[in-house]
Symmetry: C2
Amino acid sequence: MPSQKQLDDWFYKRKTHKQSLSAALLFPALISGNRGALSSAITLVESQVSEDRKEANKLIKSCSDLNKKAWRIGITGVPGVGKSTFIDAFGKIILEKGLKLAVLAIDPSSNVSGGSILGDKTRMPWLSQQENVFIRPSATRNNLGGVALNTREAILLCEAAGFDIIFIETVGVGQSETVVHSMVDFFLLLMLSGAGDELQGIKRGIMEMADLLVITKADGDNLQNAKNARSQYANALHLFPSKPSTWTTQALISSSVSGVGLHEVLEATENYFNKIVLSAWLDENRRLQEITLLKECLSNLLKQDFFGNNKWKNKFLIAEQKVANGKLSAFIAAEQLFKEFNLRKI
Amino acid sequence: MPSQKQLDDWFYKRKTHKQSLSAALLFPALISGNRGALSSAITLVESQVSEDRKEANKLIKSCSDLNKKAWRIGITGVPGVGKSTFIDAFGKIILEKGLKLAVLAIDPSSNVSGGSILGDKTRMPWLSQQENVFIRPSATRNNLGGVALNTREAILLCEAAGFDIIFIETVGVGQSETVVHSMVDFFLLLMLSGAGDELQGIKRGIMEMADLLVITKADGDNLQNAKNARSQYANALHLFPSKPSTWTTQALISSSVSGVGLHEVLEATENYFNKIVLSAWLDENRRLQEITLLKECLSNLLKQDFFGNNKWKNKFLIAEQKVANGKLSAFIAAEQLFKEFNLRKI
C-alpha cells in the first residue's frame, strides 16, 4: 500500500495537470481517508465545467449514501479576535483525543479584497502540519450562494473521508454567519473583551445564533477583563429567547497562548452534542437544513444554467452596459435575455 | 370627459370581474393620472398569469420610455414608532405644496402573519381620502424578492401617472430595509426616544443606510426626551462613515399630533434632493440600482420559470417530502428536478 505522502503527491500531480477526475477513481481513495483525494474531490465539486459537475454529482450521491456523521461546528468572530490562533490551539486539544479534524472556510470578502482568510500554513502553523488534519481555504471564484453550496458539499466529502469534527469558519461581517449557521450543528462565536458589541460589529442576530460565546485572549493583563466580559455576556444571554434545541448558550473564556479555557470549550461542545443526540435535535435540525438546502440548490442550478454559460454571460454583460448607459430599462433587458434564453432549445 | 370617480368605478368593475387589461387600454388612462388605471396597472404587473405578464411588459416599456422622475423616498421604523400617523401628517404638508403623493408598502411579514401593514383606510385616515394621493398596500402572494420587483414596477407606474413623491414604506425588521434602500433616492428612518437601539431592533446597518433620522412622538411629556434623543443620535451620526452621496445624515424630531418638526423634515428632504440633483448623484445612484436590478430580475425570471409553474411546484413538493423523510439528499433531489425540468422542452 502506498504511503499517505505518495498518494498526496499523485493526486496533487493530477490536479496540477488539470486532468479531470472520475468519481469511480476518487471515491475509494476518499473513504480510505486520503487527504489528496479529499482535496481533489473538493476541487471537483467546485469546478464550473459541466463534465466535472456530472462526476461531482455521482461522488456526492455515493458520499451521502454512506450517511456518515461528523460534528459540524461553525466558528465566527470579527477580524482580530484571534480566530486562527484559537483554531490552531483548540484543534490541538481535539487531536489529543484521537479525533480527525477538517477546517473549511467561507469568506464573503474574498470576491472583493482577494480574501481576508489567508492560506492555511501561515494562519495555523501547528495544525497545518498534522497528519489528522485537513485544512481548506474558501473557494473564491463564486458568489456567496455558490460558495455556500460548495461548502455544503465539502462537508459531505469530509464526512465520507472519516473526519470526526468539521470547523466551518467565517469572518464576522454579516451575511455569511447566517449561511454558516444554516449548515452546522453548533455555532461558536469568538469575542474580544473590552470592545463593545457595536465596535465588534457583532449584530444581535449573530449573538442569538450562537450556542457558545468564547471570550478570547484571556491571558496576562487581559485575563480579568475577559472574566468580567464573560459575566456580562452570561447575564445578557439570559434575556435571549430560548432555542429550539433547548440548549442554553454559555459564555466561556479562552487563551490560545496559555491554553486557559480550551478544555472547557471542548467540554461544553461535548455536552451540547450529547444533549442534542439524545433529544434527536441533531437529526431534526439537519432535516430542516436539508429542506432549505433543496430550494437553494435548485434555485442556484436554475441561475447557473444561465450565468454559468459563457455565451449567455457575455450577452448579459452587453445588456448590463446598455442598462448602465440608460439605453434600456433593467426590466426590459431581463425579459429580453430570459426570452432569448428560453427559446434556445426549441 | 368622465369624472375621476366614474373612471375609478369603471376600472374597479373590470378588476372585480377579472377581465384582463391591455397595455394599450391602460397606458393613456394611466398617464392622464387616473388612479383606477394606476391601481389596475399595478394589479396587472403583480399578476402571475403569463398573458398578463406580456401586457405588463408592454406597459412597463411604455412607462420607462416616458422617463418621468419622482422623488423616491423609503420610510422605515419598528412597529409602534408611528409610521402610519407620520405618513398621514407628513403627507398633508406635501399636499399643501400642491404635490401628488403615492404610498407603496413592502411587508416581508405578510406571508406569515397575513400582513402587519394594514389596509390604507384605517392606517391613514386623512390621506386616504385625498384626491392627489394614491395608497397601495403590499402585494402579499409572493416572496420578498418577488414583492421587491413588483414594487419597482409599481414605482415606474406611479411616476408615469404623474406622482411627484413616492413613499415606499416597510417594517423595520431586517431584510426588507435593504430591499427598499436599493430602490429609493432617500431613506428616512423613524425612531422612538427612550427605547435603546437594541430594544428597537434597529441594526447598525440600517442606521448607516438612513439619510434622515426622525424621532417621532415629540409631544407632551415626551418632547424633552425626543430632543435629548436627537442630540444623542446627532452625535453618534458623526462617527459613521461618509456616504457616496456626500450627504451628511441629520437627526430631527417630529410630532404627528402637534405637527412639530414636519416642515423641517420636508425642508431636509428638499435640501437633500437639491444637493443630489446638482451633484448628479441622483442619476448615478439610479444607474447603479438599475444594474443591480437587472441581475435580480433575470435571476427571478429564471427561478419563476420553475417555481411559478404548478406542475413543477408540485414535483418540488414531492421531492421536499422525500428529503424531509431522509429518503433523498437535497443535492441529488435538486439535480434530478433540474435535469427533468431542462429536458422538458427538447
